[in-house]
């Protein structure tokens, strides 16, 4: 019942040999290193800590994550130093979600305000969901009315989870969301798993139905919704949009097998995230099959040895 362990020794290994780049960028970086060598060295990228002088500001340009102080280029973050030609930037090792227009995010309502909701989406600022950018009951696309403003909590209230798309940015950098699609809206029948946002890559689709009867929504902000599979036809309803169902807070009946599958998928996601493995549907299906093959219980998936073995097995296969 109680397992007490000593903490794992901290790695003194500061070389990040596994930093990956897009091929086009990689070529340029490689070329630079070949051309100039010297200051930034070869091989693994260097780590910088906040306040550390990276290089002289006269020879190089400051990029993201750096600033100039007394003619020196100083790092503002903990991260790897990257250089493209004369531009030096520091990419943070751990950061919050950096939104871009068109991204799919999963968020939680933190505040109901005048004609808008504040949404926590793991970014530096809370996102904003305007009353005008949600699907209003009544089926057809229509303008918001005063009566809608008065019953905003019937749509979303504090604590509710929703899936939405980044629509635009405000002047202060906060993102504006919209849920004007039948795929977006309130989340039910499952639970949330949080991973570092860097592990969710931009994919063709962020909605997956895994063969084990589990639906996944991979939010680019690192929030992942794991829920019971809902058939496409049921999801959309007969008339295309059913406000009652879309804004409902009640879960469907979920059997024990599905709940176990949901727990297993969540534990796999957590285990992969602990080993900094980017998540894709293929990888998750592989991992799920591996766990079933090896007859590993849901609980054991969170054990360190098991998750290591799993990551090794599936990254080898992939």
């Amino acid at each position: 019942m109680f397992t007490i362990v000593s903490p794992a020794p901290r790695g003194d290994d500061l070389e990040y040999t596994t930093t990956r780049h897009h091929p086009s960028v990689k070529d340029e970086i490689d070329m630079d290193i070949e051309e100039q060598g010297g200051e930034f060295g070869e091989g693994p990228s260097r780590l910088a800590s906040p306040g550390e002088t990276i290089t002289s500001a006269q020879a190089f340009m400051r990029g993201h994550g750096t600033y100039v102080e007394n003619e020196d280029l100083v790092s503002a973050l903990t991260g790897t130093i990257e250089r493209v030609n004369k531009l030096v930037s520091v990419r943070a090792l751990k950061s919050r979600y950096n939104p871009e227009v068109g991204d799919l995010v999963v968020g939680r309502i933190t505040e109901v305000g005048p004609r808008r909701w504040k949404v926590d989406a793991n970014a530096r600022q809370d996102a904003v969901l305007m009353l005008s950018s949600i699907n209003l009951p009544g089926g057809v696309q229509r303008r918001k009315l005063e009566s809608d403003e008065l019953q905003m909590r019937n749509f979303f209230e504090e604590g509710d989870l929703l899936v939405a798309e980044v629509q635009a940015f405000f002047a202060d950098g906060a993102m504006s969301l919209h849920t004007r699609s039948l795929k977006y809206g309130k989340l039910r029948n499952g639970h949330l798993v949080m991973v570092p946002p860097a592990l969710v890559r931009r994919l063709k689709s962020h909605f997956y139905a895994l063969p084990c009867g589990v639906d996944l929504i991979l939010g680019l902000n690192g929030y992942i919704w794991v829920s019971k599979h809902v058939k496409q036809s049921e999801q959309e309803g007969e008339e295309g949009f059913d406000a009652e169902a879309v804004y409902s807070n009640k879960n469907d009946d979920i059997d024990v097998a599905t709940r176990t599958a949901i727990a297993r998928v969540s534990n796999i996601i957590r285990a992969l995230a602990r080993h900094s493995t980017p998540l894709t549907d293929v990888l998750l299906v592989e991992a799920y099959d591996w766990a079933i093959d090896q007859d590993i219980s849901v609980k054991d998936l969170s054990a360190e040895e098991t998750s290591e073995a799993m990551v090794a097995a599936i990254t080898f296969r992939a």
Partner: protein, 315 residues
């Protein structure tokens, strides 16, 4: 402020009633506890405990106090002061005043349980009526992923286990026919016959001191999260927010006797706890607490043998 939606809440509670937890644990399974002692080099005793992702660091500083009547003066048998700080990084959604409130609540809880178990103690008296030890325990909650109470007590207990009280020798003045003779008495100050211990000195020994007496029977905290008709242990943050009622039990197990002492109970949550439910809960809680205390003692003994091995080679 609500952190879970209604549908999440109902999903979590119905799953718990079916005996399935989000991370596959059984209702009485604890997450992995990781424990490390001697993490703060300048403290007299320190420890870091992690329960899952909940992390607490505790450190103890010893001071010598003059014994007196006042609020901030020493007592015969020692005095304990506990302070818990909740870091803003552990509770990013709390306002500063809410953090202070939470810190005060945890401080008073730790204080009320520990001060009764640790004091008064012979070991903490230096010179009766004059000088006594003052144990100042500070705990820092670095992150809270649920079950902060249990983690806090695990850290505090491990720090007290790691505590070394320096050797002292009492200085006595022997009054014989009006003549004052200065003498020594080994050990901790005492009063025998006409001999009076009036001060103490620290012998110049390399050894770092003696551990606290009865450290293997220090109290543990066990939180029973109540979801009638069942209960579960070690709630994650989401579970904690869905199931609001908790019963905290503070047990101590004096060694080697098989008895147990219930030092305190605390009920947290908006619901009521029917009285007839309390007895079976306390009974179950005792069982869990005993296992936890035994596991902790075993781990701490093992940890200490690892830590002390290189130290004695050095000395």
């Amino acid at each position: 402020m609500a952190y879970v939606s209604k549908s999440e809440n109902s999903y979590i509670t119905t799953s718990l009633l079916a005996g399935i937890r989000a991370d596959g644990r059984s209702p009485t399974d604890y997450r992995n506890i990781s424990l490390e002692i001697g993490v703060v080099p300048v403290a007299n005793g320190s420890a870091r405990a992690r329960v899952g992702e909940t992390e607490v660091v505790a450190a103890i500083k010893l001071e010598v106090e003059d014994v007196g009547e006042g609020e901030n003066e020493g007592r015969d048998g020692g005095r304990v002061l506990c302070h818990v700080s909740c870091t803003p990084s552990a509770y990013p959604h709390h306002s500063l005043s809410a953090l202070d409130e939470l810190s005060d609540e945890l401080s008073s809880l730790l204080q009320s349980i520990l001060s009764h178990t640790l004091t008064p103690s012979e070991q903490l008296t230096l010179v009766p009526g004059k000088k006594a030890w003052f144990i100042s325990l500070d705990a820092l909650i670095l992150s809270d992923a649920g079950n902060a109470h249990d983690a806090l007590f695990i850290a505090a207990r491990a720090a007290l286990w790691d505590l070394r009280i320096p050797y002292t020798r009492g200085i006595e003045f022997d009054i014989k026919d009006g003549e004052v003779v200065v003498g020594d008495s080994e050990g901790i100050g005492r009063m025998i016959g006409r001999k009076r211990t009036v001060d103490f000195e620290l012998p110049d020994l390399l050894d770092d001191g003696v551990p606290l007496e009865g450290r293997d029977s220090l109290p543990v905290c066990i939180s029973l999260n109540l979801l009638p008709p069942t209960h579960f242990l070690d709630a994650s943050l989401q579970e904690e927010q869905s199931v609001l009622s908790r019963l905290l039990l503070f047990f101590s197990f004096p060694q080697p006797s098989p008895t147990s002492t219930l030092y305190g109970t605390r009920f947290i949550g908006p619901n009521e706890l029917p009285f007839n439910m309390l007895k079976p809960l306390v009974k179950d809680g005792e069982k869990y607490a005993r296992e936890l205390a035994e596991a902790l003692n075993k781990k701490l003994k093992q940890e200490e043998s690892q830590v002390s091995a290189p130290m004695s080679a050095f000395g």
